[in-house]
Protein backbone atom coordinates (compact mmCIF):
# COMPACT_ATOMS: atom_id res chain seq x y z
CA UNK A 1 0.00 0.00 0.00
CA UNK A 2 1.20 3.47 -0.68
CA UNK A 3 0.46 5.93 2.08
CA UNK A 4 2.18 8.83 0.36
CA UNK A 5 3.34 10.43 3.56
CA UNK A 6 5.84 13.20 3.08
CA UNK A 7 8.07 14.43 5.85
CA UNK A 8 9.71 17.79 6.08
CA UNK A 9 12.51 18.31 8.53
CA UNK A 10 13.07 21.78 9.94
CA UNK A 11 9.33 22.31 10.39
CA UNK A 12 7.69 23.59 13.54
CA UNK A 13 5.62 20.39 13.51
CA UNK A 14 7.51 17.45 14.99
CA UNK A 15 7.92 14.50 12.61
CA UNK A 16 5.70 12.11 14.60
CA UNK A 17 2.89 14.66 14.34
CA UNK A 18 3.41 15.07 10.61
CA UNK A 19 2.74 11.34 10.35
CA UNK A 20 -0.34 11.32 12.61
CA UNK A 21 -1.78 14.37 10.82
CA UNK A 22 -1.38 12.80 7.39
CA UNK A 23 -2.78 9.40 8.41
CA UNK A 24 -5.76 11.12 10.07
CA UNK A 25 -6.31 13.13 6.94
CA UNK A 26 -6.11 10.03 4.72
CA UNK A 27 -8.67 8.24 6.90
CA UNK A 28 -10.98 11.24 7.11
CA UNK A 29 -11.04 11.63 3.32
CA UNK A 30 -11.41 7.93 2.66
CA UNK A 31 -8.04 7.57 0.96
CA UNK A 32 -7.42 4.98 3.66
CA UNK A 33 -10.45 2.75 4.14
CA UNK A 34 -11.53 0.94 7.27
CA UNK A 35 -9.76 -2.45 7.55
CA UNK A 36 -7.02 -1.30 5.21
CA UNK A 37 -3.55 -2.30 6.33
CA UNK A 38 -0.81 0.21 7.13
CA UNK A 39 2.89 -0.45 6.56
CA UNK A 40 4.74 -1.89 9.54
CA UNK A 41 6.68 0.51 11.75
CA UNK A 42 9.93 -0.84 10.34
CA UNK A 43 8.81 -0.55 6.70
CA UNK A 44 7.51 2.98 7.04
CA UNK A 45 10.60 4.08 8.94
CA UNK A 46 12.77 2.68 6.18
CA UNK A 47 10.72 4.27 3.42
CA UNK A 48 10.77 7.70 5.06
CA UNK A 49 14.34 7.34 6.41
CA UNK A 50 13.34 7.88 10.01
CA UNK A 51 14.17 6.47 13.37
CA UNK A 52 11.63 3.61 13.84
CA UNK A 53 10.86 4.94 17.33
CA UNK A 54 9.40 8.07 15.72
CA UNK A 55 7.02 6.02 13.58
CA UNK A 56 6.19 3.83 16.57
CA UNK A 57 5.26 6.89 18.57
CA UNK A 58 2.98 8.16 15.77
CA UNK A 59 1.27 4.76 15.52
CA UNK A 60 0.86 4.61 19.30
CA UNK A 61 -0.84 8.02 19.28
CA UNK A 62 -3.16 6.97 16.44
CA UNK A 63 -3.99 3.72 18.26
CA UNK A 64 -4.79 5.66 21.41
CA UNK A 65 -7.15 7.84 19.41
CA UNK A 66 -8.85 4.69 18.16
CA UNK A 67 -7.97 5.29 14.54
CA UNK A 68 -5.77 2.26 13.99
CA UNK A 69 -5.14 -0.99 15.83
CA UNK A 70 -2.42 -3.54 15.83
CA UNK A 71 -3.64 -7.09 15.18
CA UNK A 72 -1.04 -9.47 16.55
CA UNK A 73 0.70 -11.47 13.86
CA UNK A 74 -1.12 -9.67 11.06
CA UNK A 75 -0.17 -6.03 11.12
CA UNK A 76 -1.58 -2.58 11.68
CA UNK A 77 -5.07 -1.74 10.39
CA UNK A 78 -7.41 1.21 10.12
CA UNK A 79 -10.46 0.81 12.34
CA UNK A 80 -13.75 2.64 12.38
CA UNK A 81 -13.22 6.07 13.82
CA UNK A 82 -14.97 7.31 16.85
CA UNK A 83 -14.94 10.98 17.56
CA UNK A 84 -11.92 11.81 19.63
CA UNK A 85 -12.02 15.54 20.05
CA UNK A 86 -14.84 17.36 21.76
CA UNK A 87 -16.58 19.97 19.60
CA UNK A 88 -14.79 22.63 21.58
CA UNK A 89 -11.37 21.07 21.11
CA UNK A 90 -12.09 20.56 17.43
CA UNK A 91 -12.98 24.21 17.11
CA UNK A 92 -9.80 25.23 18.89
CA UNK A 93 -7.76 23.24 16.37
CA UNK A 94 -9.69 24.39 13.33
CA UNK A 95 -9.81 28.10 14.03
CA UNK A 96 -6.14 28.95 13.47
CA UNK A 97 -6.38 27.27 10.06
CA UNK A 98 -9.40 29.36 9.16
CA UNK A 99 -7.64 32.51 10.37
CA UNK A 100 -4.71 31.70 8.09
CA UNK A 101 -7.08 31.08 5.18
CA UNK A 102 -8.93 34.37 5.62
CA UNK A 103 -5.69 36.30 6.07
CA UNK A 104 -4.27 34.91 2.83
CA UNK A 105 -7.51 35.60 0.98
CA UNK A 106 -7.51 39.22 2.17
CA UNK A 107 -3.86 39.65 1.22
CA UNK A 108 -4.72 38.46 -2.28
CA UNK A 109 -7.77 40.71 -2.58
CA UNK A 110 -10.41 38.00 -2.73
CA UNK A 111 -13.91 39.32 -2.10
CA UNK A 112 -15.89 37.52 0.64
CA UNK A 113 -18.14 36.09 -2.08
CA UNK A 114 -15.20 34.72 -4.04
CA UNK A 115 -13.76 33.11 -0.94
CA UNK A 116 -17.02 31.38 -0.02
CA UNK A 117 -17.48 30.24 -3.60
CA UNK A 118 -13.99 28.77 -3.74
CA UNK A 119 -14.54 27.12 -0.39
CA UNK A 120 -17.80 25.53 -1.47
CA UNK A 121 -16.31 24.33 -4.72
CA UNK A 122 -13.51 22.66 -2.77
CA UNK A 123 -15.98 20.99 -0.45
CA UNK A 124 -17.72 19.54 -3.51
CA UNK A 125 -14.35 18.24 -4.74
CA UNK A 126 -13.85 16.50 -1.42
CA UNK A 127 -17.47 15.15 -1.52
CA UNK A 128 -17.80 16.58 1.96
CA UNK A 129 -21.60 16.49 1.97
CA UNK A 130 -21.79 12.79 1.07
CA UNK A 131 -19.08 11.90 3.52
CA UNK A 132 -20.85 13.77 6.30
CA UNK A 133 -24.27 12.23 5.66
CA UNK A 134 -22.79 8.73 5.34
CA UNK A 135 -21.66 9.01 8.92
CA UNK A 136 -25.16 9.40 10.30
Amino acid sequence: MNLNISISTGSSTPIYRQITDQVRHAVATGRLAVDEQLPSVRALAEELVLNPNTVARAYADLAREGLIESRPGRGVFVVRKRRVFSREEGRRRLEPLIDALIGEAMAMDFTPGQLVETFESKMRDWKYEEWSSSKR
Binding site: S12, P14, L50
Partner: protein
Amino acid sequence: MKSEYVIRTHGLTRYFGANRAVYELDLKVPRGGIFAFLGRNGSGKSTVIRMLLGLLEATRGGGEILDCDISALGPEMRARIGYLTEEHQVYGWMSVRECEEFQSKFYPKWNENIFRGVVQHFGLKAEAKVKNLSRGERAGLCLGLTLAPDPELLILDDPALGLDPVARRSLVESMIQLTRRSDRTIFFSTHQLDDMERVADYVAVLDQGVLRACCPLDLFRDSVRQVQLRFSSNPPALPEIPGLIQAVRTDTAIRIVCVNYDEKVNEVLQSLKPDEMEISEIRLEDALISYLGRHGEKSFVLSETAQP
Protein backbone atom coordinates in the same frame (compact mmCIF):
# COMPACT_ATOMS: atom_id res chain seq x y z
CA MET B 1 24.57 -6.76 35.21
CA LYS B 2 24.73 -4.17 32.46
CA SER B 3 23.93 -0.65 33.53
CA GLU B 4 21.12 1.15 31.74
CA TYR B 5 23.60 3.80 30.64
CA VAL B 6 26.48 3.23 28.22
CA ILE B 7 28.09 6.55 29.10
CA ARG B 8 27.99 8.41 32.40
CA THR B 9 30.16 11.25 33.51
CA HIS B 10 30.40 12.88 36.90
CA GLY B 11 31.53 16.49 37.07
CA LEU B 12 33.83 15.89 34.12
CA THR B 13 36.00 18.99 33.73
CA ARG B 14 38.93 19.90 31.53
CA TYR B 15 41.08 22.99 31.40
CA PHE B 16 43.65 23.83 28.73
CA GLY B 17 45.90 26.15 30.67
CA ALA B 18 43.56 28.78 32.05
CA ASN B 19 40.93 28.00 29.41
CA ARG B 20 37.94 26.09 30.62
CA ALA B 21 37.00 23.69 27.80
CA VAL B 22 34.53 21.42 29.61
CA TYR B 23 32.94 22.21 32.93
CA GLU B 24 31.22 19.94 35.46
CA LEU B 25 29.68 17.70 32.84
CA ASP B 26 27.08 15.19 34.04
CA LEU B 27 26.21 13.33 30.88
CA LYS B 28 24.02 10.22 30.79
CA VAL B 29 23.63 8.24 27.60
CA PRO B 30 21.03 5.46 27.84
CA ARG B 31 21.70 2.04 26.29
CA GLY B 32 20.07 1.55 22.89
CA GLY B 33 19.10 4.20 20.37
CA ILE B 34 20.71 7.24 18.83
CA PHE B 35 22.04 10.15 20.88
CA ALA B 36 22.86 13.47 19.22
CA PHE B 37 25.49 15.73 20.78
CA LEU B 38 25.00 19.34 19.69
CA GLY B 39 26.83 22.57 20.24
CA ARG B 40 28.68 25.28 18.39
CA ASN B 41 32.19 24.90 17.04
CA GLY B 42 34.60 25.11 19.93
CA SER B 43 31.92 24.34 22.53
CA GLY B 44 33.95 21.37 23.74
CA LYS B 45 32.25 18.43 22.01
CA SER B 46 35.43 16.85 20.67
CA THR B 47 37.18 17.40 23.99
CA VAL B 48 34.36 15.51 25.73
CA ILE B 49 34.54 12.69 23.21
CA ARG B 50 38.30 12.37 23.57
CA MET B 51 37.98 12.22 27.35
CA LEU B 52 35.26 9.57 27.10
CA LEU B 53 37.63 7.41 25.08
CA GLY B 54 40.51 7.92 27.47
CA LEU B 55 42.50 9.80 24.81
CA LEU B 56 42.64 12.91 26.95
CA GLU B 57 42.89 13.16 30.70
CA ALA B 58 40.26 15.00 32.69
CA THR B 59 41.37 17.85 34.93
CA ARG B 60 38.68 16.83 37.44
CA GLY B 61 35.80 14.43 37.58
CA GLY B 62 35.45 11.23 35.62
CA GLY B 63 33.06 8.79 34.11
CA GLU B 64 32.26 5.30 32.90
CA ILE B 65 31.87 4.00 29.41
CA LEU B 66 30.26 0.53 29.07
CA ASP B 67 30.62 0.31 32.86
CA CYS B 68 34.39 0.77 32.68
CA ASP B 69 36.25 3.74 34.17
CA ILE B 70 37.26 6.06 31.32
CA SER B 71 40.74 6.49 32.76
CA ALA B 72 41.38 2.74 32.56
CA LEU B 73 40.24 1.55 29.14
CA GLY B 74 42.13 -1.51 27.92
CA PRO B 75 42.28 -2.88 24.37
CA GLU B 76 39.39 -5.27 25.08
CA MET B 77 37.13 -2.38 26.02
CA ARG B 78 38.22 -0.34 23.04
CA ALA B 79 37.24 -3.20 20.71
CA ARG B 80 33.66 -2.87 22.00
CA ILE B 81 33.60 0.83 21.10
CA GLY B 82 33.67 2.10 17.52
CA TYR B 83 35.15 5.57 17.13
CA LEU B 84 35.02 7.68 13.99
CA THR B 85 37.16 10.79 14.21
CA GLU B 86 36.51 14.14 12.63
CA GLU B 87 39.28 13.63 10.09
CA HIS B 88 39.02 10.26 8.48
CA GLN B 89 42.37 8.55 8.88
CA VAL B 90 43.18 6.04 6.17
CA TYR B 91 46.24 5.46 3.98
CA GLY B 92 46.01 6.89 0.48
CA TRP B 93 48.06 4.17 -1.19
CA MET B 94 45.80 1.35 -0.01
CA SER B 95 42.78 0.05 -1.88
CA VAL B 96 39.40 -0.36 -0.17
CA ARG B 97 40.03 -4.11 0.13
CA GLU B 98 43.52 -3.58 1.57
CA CYS B 99 42.11 -1.19 4.15
CA GLU B 100 39.74 -3.90 5.27
CA GLU B 101 42.46 -6.54 5.44
CA PHE B 102 44.72 -4.21 7.39
CA GLN B 103 42.07 -3.06 9.87
CA SER B 104 40.55 -6.51 10.42
CA LYS B 105 43.85 -7.76 11.86
CA PHE B 106 43.24 -5.62 14.94
CA TYR B 107 39.83 -7.06 15.67
CA PRO B 108 39.06 -10.67 16.59
CA LYS B 109 35.36 -10.20 15.81
CA TRP B 110 35.55 -8.68 12.31
CA ASN B 111 32.28 -8.96 10.39
CA GLU B 112 33.04 -8.68 6.66
CA ASN B 113 29.34 -8.68 5.76
CA ILE B 114 28.83 -5.46 7.69
CA PHE B 115 31.86 -3.91 6.00
CA ARG B 116 30.70 -4.91 2.50
CA GLY B 117 27.15 -3.77 3.21
CA VAL B 118 28.28 -0.31 4.26
CA VAL B 119 30.80 0.28 1.47
CA GLN B 120 28.32 -0.94 -1.14
CA HIS B 121 25.73 1.38 0.32
CA PHE B 122 28.17 4.23 -0.35
CA GLY B 123 28.85 2.88 -3.86
CA LEU B 124 32.50 1.90 -3.31
CA LYS B 125 34.48 -0.63 -5.33
CA ALA B 126 36.92 -2.98 -3.55
CA GLU B 127 39.81 -2.14 -5.93
CA ALA B 128 39.44 1.65 -5.66
CA LYS B 129 42.49 3.42 -4.22
CA VAL B 130 41.80 5.51 -1.13
CA LYS B 131 43.61 8.55 -2.58
CA ASN B 132 41.13 8.62 -5.49
CA LEU B 133 38.00 8.49 -3.32
CA SER B 134 35.69 11.46 -2.94
CA ARG B 135 35.05 12.84 0.50
CA GLY B 136 31.73 11.00 0.76
CA GLU B 137 33.25 7.72 -0.42
CA ARG B 138 36.07 8.07 2.05
CA ALA B 139 33.52 8.66 4.82
CA GLY B 140 31.72 5.48 3.72
CA LEU B 141 34.97 3.52 3.87
CA CYS B 142 35.77 4.81 7.37
CA LEU B 143 32.25 4.10 8.55
CA GLY B 144 32.56 0.54 7.23
CA LEU B 145 35.89 0.10 9.01
CA THR B 146 34.37 1.43 12.22
CA LEU B 147 31.21 -0.70 12.03
CA ALA B 148 32.71 -4.03 10.93
CA PRO B 149 33.96 -5.03 14.42
CA ASP B 150 30.25 -4.77 15.40
CA PRO B 151 30.81 -2.44 18.34
CA GLU B 152 28.21 -2.12 21.10
CA LEU B 153 28.75 1.60 21.24
CA LEU B 154 29.53 3.78 18.28
CA ILE B 155 30.95 7.24 18.80
CA LEU B 156 30.96 9.44 15.72
CA ASP B 157 32.59 12.84 15.85
CA ASP B 158 30.80 14.98 13.25
CA PRO B 159 30.42 12.17 10.70
CA ALA B 160 28.45 14.38 8.28
CA LEU B 161 31.20 17.00 8.00
CA GLY B 162 31.75 17.90 4.36
CA LEU B 163 29.44 15.24 2.97
CA ASP B 164 27.13 15.90 0.03
CA PRO B 165 23.38 15.26 0.49
CA VAL B 166 23.51 11.78 -1.08
CA ALA B 167 26.39 10.62 1.13
CA ARG B 168 24.67 12.14 4.15
CA ARG B 169 21.53 10.20 3.39
CA SER B 170 23.58 6.99 3.15
CA LEU B 171 25.09 7.83 6.52
CA VAL B 172 21.66 8.36 8.09
CA GLU B 173 20.37 5.09 6.64
CA SER B 174 23.42 3.24 7.96
CA MET B 175 22.83 4.70 11.41
CA ILE B 176 19.19 3.61 11.43
CA GLN B 177 20.14 0.12 10.29
CA LEU B 178 22.80 -0.22 12.91
CA THR B 179 20.42 0.49 15.77
CA ARG B 180 17.98 -2.19 14.62
CA ARG B 181 19.49 -4.21 17.42
CA SER B 182 18.16 -2.69 20.58
CA ASP B 183 21.43 -3.12 22.48
CA ARG B 184 23.38 -0.97 20.02
CA THR B 185 23.95 2.70 20.83
CA ILE B 186 25.18 5.55 18.64
CA PHE B 187 26.52 8.74 20.18
CA PHE B 188 27.28 11.35 17.53
CA SER B 189 28.08 15.02 17.28
CA THR B 190 26.73 17.02 14.39
CA HIS B 191 25.65 20.37 13.01
CA GLN B 192 23.20 18.76 10.58
CA LEU B 193 19.91 19.37 12.35
CA ASP B 194 17.79 17.93 9.55
CA ASP B 195 19.55 14.59 9.75
CA MET B 196 19.54 14.76 13.52
CA GLU B 197 15.78 15.30 13.54
CA ARG B 198 15.31 12.15 11.45
CA VAL B 199 17.38 9.82 13.59
CA ALA B 200 17.92 11.02 17.14
CA ASP B 201 16.14 9.56 20.17
CA TYR B 202 18.04 11.79 22.59
CA VAL B 203 19.80 15.09 22.43
CA ALA B 204 22.43 16.83 24.50
CA VAL B 205 23.35 20.48 24.04
CA LEU B 206 26.79 21.73 25.03
CA ASP B 207 27.40 25.46 25.31
CA GLN B 208 30.86 26.81 26.10
CA GLY B 209 31.76 23.58 27.82
CA VAL B 210 28.57 23.47 29.89
CA LEU B 211 25.78 20.96 29.37
CA ARG B 212 22.56 22.88 28.79
CA ALA B 213 20.17 20.07 27.89
CA CYS B 214 20.27 16.29 28.01
CA CYS B 215 16.93 14.60 27.35
CA PRO B 216 14.77 12.76 24.80
CA LEU B 217 14.47 14.78 21.57
CA ASP B 218 10.66 14.87 21.83
CA LEU B 219 10.88 16.28 25.32
CA PHE B 220 13.37 18.92 24.16
CA ARG B 221 10.90 20.01 21.49
CA ASP B 222 7.79 19.82 23.61
CA SER B 223 9.41 21.87 26.36
CA VAL B 224 10.36 24.84 24.23
CA ARG B 225 7.67 27.36 23.35
CA GLN B 226 7.71 30.72 21.65
CA VAL B 227 5.38 33.45 22.88
CA GLN B 228 4.69 36.61 20.94
CA LEU B 229 3.32 39.49 23.01
CA ARG B 230 1.95 42.54 21.21
CA PHE B 231 1.38 45.95 22.79
CA SER B 232 -0.14 49.19 21.56
CA SER B 233 2.86 51.16 22.81
CA ASN B 234 6.32 50.39 24.14
CA PRO B 235 6.33 47.00 25.87
CA PRO B 236 6.88 47.01 29.65
CA ALA B 237 10.05 45.65 31.21
CA LEU B 238 10.06 41.88 31.51
CA PRO B 239 9.75 40.52 35.03
CA GLU B 240 11.58 37.35 36.05
CA ILE B 241 10.31 34.46 33.96
CA PRO B 242 11.21 30.91 34.95
CA GLY B 243 12.78 28.97 32.09
CA LEU B 244 13.36 31.99 29.86
CA ILE B 245 16.06 31.33 27.28
CA GLN B 246 15.59 34.18 24.85
CA ALA B 247 13.78 37.50 24.75
CA VAL B 248 13.74 39.87 21.78
CA ARG B 249 12.07 43.28 22.03
CA THR B 250 10.80 45.52 19.26
CA ASP B 251 8.86 48.81 19.46
CA THR B 252 5.52 47.18 20.13
CA ALA B 253 6.24 43.54 20.78
CA ILE B 254 8.25 41.10 22.82
CA ARG B 255 9.05 37.65 21.56
CA ILE B 256 10.23 35.23 24.17
CA VAL B 257 11.36 31.64 24.00
CA CYS B 258 11.12 29.64 27.16
CA VAL B 259 11.44 26.12 28.44
CA ASN B 260 8.69 24.38 30.41
CA TYR B 261 5.95 26.85 29.62
CA ASP B 262 3.23 26.39 32.20
CA GLU B 263 0.34 28.10 33.98
CA LYS B 264 2.74 30.05 36.17
CA VAL B 265 4.61 31.54 33.21
CA ASN B 266 1.27 32.22 31.56
CA GLU B 267 0.14 34.24 34.60
CA VAL B 268 3.34 36.29 34.63
CA LEU B 269 2.92 37.12 30.95
CA GLN B 270 -0.79 37.92 31.27
CA SER B 271 0.05 40.35 34.06
CA LEU B 272 1.91 42.47 31.48
CA LYS B 273 -1.50 43.05 29.87
CA PRO B 274 -0.52 42.54 26.24
CA ASP B 275 -3.09 43.38 23.55
CA GLU B 276 -2.40 40.04 22.00
CA MET B 277 -0.54 36.98 23.07
CA GLU B 278 0.25 34.06 20.81
CA ILE B 279 1.92 30.83 21.91
CA SER B 280 3.44 28.67 19.23
CA GLU B 281 5.63 25.68 18.70
CA ILE B 282 9.09 26.33 17.45
CA ARG B 283 11.34 24.77 14.86
CA LEU B 284 14.12 22.60 16.24
CA GLU B 285 16.72 24.87 14.71
CA ASP B 286 15.20 27.97 16.31
CA ALA B 287 14.97 26.20 19.66
CA LEU B 288 18.64 25.33 19.47
CA ILE B 289 19.67 28.81 18.40
CA SER B 290 17.66 30.24 21.30
CA TYR B 291 19.64 27.97 23.58
CA LEU B 292 22.99 28.90 22.12
CA GLY B 293 22.47 32.38 20.76
CA ARG B 294 23.85 35.60 22.18
CA HIS B 295 20.52 36.57 23.72
CA GLY B 296 20.35 33.34 25.69
CA GLU B 297 19.85 33.39 29.42
CA LYS B 298 22.35 30.94 30.79
CA SER B 299 20.33 30.02 33.82
CA PHE B 300 18.23 27.22 32.50
CA VAL B 301 19.27 23.60 32.20
CA LEU B 302 16.96 20.88 30.97
CA SER B 303 18.09 17.47 32.06
CA GLU B 304 16.27 14.22 32.03
CA THR B 305 17.61 11.20 30.20
CA ALA B 306 14.90 8.81 31.19
CA GLN B 307 14.39 5.67 29.13
CA PRO B 308 11.67 6.25 26.48
